[in-house]
């Protein structure tokens, strides 16, 4: 069976510090991978998605970047955090089959607080 891991579960960082959140998927190959953010009082916003190693699409301009160094690894980074980067970050995966919609499965999330 497939599982998705995210770490850390919670993180408190000062403004201006770097960020690295990691997501890994087990039990599948060549998944599509996604990073979402849920800010306080807001819905889930798609930040990045990837259909393969080294292939990253950014949905919104922001202070964050994403990388996919391995097939089942997705990393969310920032060089300098802003207060507005606080939120609940979710990684998700879906089967990489093209041509029709595949359900997305979400990880447990990381609660980031920037002070």
């Amino acid at each position: 069976s497939q599982t998705i891991h995210q770490w850390p579960a919670t993180l408190v960082q000062p403004v201006g510090s770097p960020l690295s959140l990691e997501c890994t998927v087990e039990g599948t190959s060549n998944p599509n991978l996604y990073w979402y953010r849920q800010a306080a009082g807001r819905g889930l916003q798609l930040l990045f998605y990837s259909v393969g190693i080294g292939q990253i699409s950014s949905e919104v301009p922001q202070n964050l970047s994403a990388s996919r160094p391995q097939d089942r690894q997705f990393i969310l980074s920032s060089k300098k955090l802003l207060l507005s980067d606080s939120g609940f970050y979710l990684c998700a995966w879906s089967a990489g089959t093209s041509g029709f919609y595949n359900e997305q499965f979400f990880g447990p999330g990381t609660r980031l607080t920037v002070l």
Partner: protein, 112 residues
């Protein structure tokens, strides 16, 4: 530009009664619609979906209704149970597009 709206941020329903959660979208090209349920500090989990060729899909206590002319989606939960207390997100997708667009969510509280 909010393409998917859930106008009720919260809803309280007595246990055993029907819960109705609503969702409106703006783009008539959306052709697949989903509901996700989210508990605090956890990732969303898929609940039920419907494609644009249908107007109703039922799964146990959960039924999703789609009104394409009104661009309106609703989720009915009956009977409501305390474990149904969570935030519910509707989501939409274009056929062949792997990207979901989520609504802002509705916090459902079931009162025992």
């Amino acid at each position: 530009d909010q393409q998917v709206k859930q106008n009720s941020p919260s809803l309280s329903v007595q246990e055993g009664r029907i819960s109705i959660l609503n969702c409106d979208y703006t783009n008539s090209m959306f052709d697949y619609f989903l509901w996700y349920k989210k508990y605090p500090a956890e990732g969303p989990t898929f609940l039920i979906s419907i494609s644009s060729i249908k107007d109703k899909n039922e799964d146990g206590r959960f039924t999703v209704f789609l009104n394409k002319s009104a661009k309106h989606l609703s989720l009915h939960i009956v009977p409501s149970q305390p474990g149904d207390s969570a935030v519910y997100f509707c989501a939409v997708v274009n056929f062949g597009n792997e990207k979901l667009t989520f609504g802002t969510g509705t916090r459902l509280t079931i009162i025992p």
